[in-house]
Amino acid sequence: MSTEKDLDAYQEFIKGIWRDNPVFVQVLGMCPMLAVTNSAVNAVVMGGATLFVLVGSSFLVAAMKHLIPKQVRISLYVIIIATFVTVADYTLLALLPKVHKELGAFIPLIVANCMILGRQEAFASRHSVRYAVMDALGMSGGFLLALLALGGVREILGSGSLFNVDLFGDGFEPWVIMILPPGGFLTLGLILLFFNWFTVRRRAFLQRVAALDAEEG
């Protein structure tokens, strides 16, 4: 915590959205990523539930970090996360029964998303509440965006709609594979491919710029 003054809340937020995106860069949380992203609505609800759990858990863990004995911290993190997951589960079941039915077992399984436990151990337990919440917002925001990217592509091709709004009219021939598990793997693979291609290009560009600067300097 001695390094706290070096932190910038905005940076903590934005790193999860892009530079350290939990899905595209850290490749975490693959199970919900592949399982429930066959439509944009499912993706948003899943991402929202994860955001609620992560932000809530990070807040509590950061607030109580001095009360939690080191030896049993992991168990306590899991209890905290599981409580938030159960709250999210019942709330969704009451408010959005149809979506809850489609997400099925994957809402309770948020508890097993290693991204969430990872943020508690790696960040929330060592930082103040403010930064912990920013970090949690950024990470779960990045997760939500990743789910949405995948869910959007899969819904557009697999059902011809986005957020249940028809895009192509009645004659559309759905790409059935896209709403099935293989479509999840294919789309995720293509998006990761794009991310890596972009990173490589960006690095090459920066190197060229640096070389030019060196020449001029």
Binding site: V72, I79, T86, T91, V176
Partner: protein, 219 residues
Amino acid sequence: MSTPVPVQPQREPGSTRLVLAMALAGLLAGIIIIGVYEATLPTIEANRARELREAVFQVLPGVRKMQALRYDGRGLVPNPGKADDDTLYAGYDGAGRFIGYAIPAEGPGFQDTIKLLYGYLPRQRRIVGMAILDSRETPGLGDKIYKDADFVANFDDLAVDPEIVAVKKGTSTAPNQIDAITGATISSKAVVRIINRARSRWEKRLPAPGSGPAPDRME
């Protein structure tokens, strides 16, 4: 730890403290979960009941009221409790006259168990509606058992003697035949098989036509 150690002993919290911390956390988590459960339970149950009502009204045209009945080994008795394998629903019109039964049934489909509800008129011995409650059939193919209006319409007026058979699309001639879905023959046949099995199971349990259960204790 009989030998003295250089580390100060007070740095290591005793196991009592650890157990206490865990127990406290568990207790708090339990209280929160029970609170949320209690708070959401009425809405969740209302959702389930509404879903069921909608399905019953869908498979039994003209029905305005319903009640759950249970076969207790001798006859049908009102079942205010949890639905089980021996539960069905009796539907009544606005004036409280008995119309027919909505019977839940389930069985293996192409991917996973298909759960459905069908409306049955015992006097006419006809099926007058079918709704899929739960299925994981292949999107685009097997899911036509509930997405394809033509297929669902097969069950709007279907004779049950002799037992229902699925035939190739466009070739149904007899009142006990339904048009299978092209490309999803297995799912189509699964629906037929589930209904036939449920029907033969309930055949002897239903009271003789004309003596429908009294519309007492209705919602």
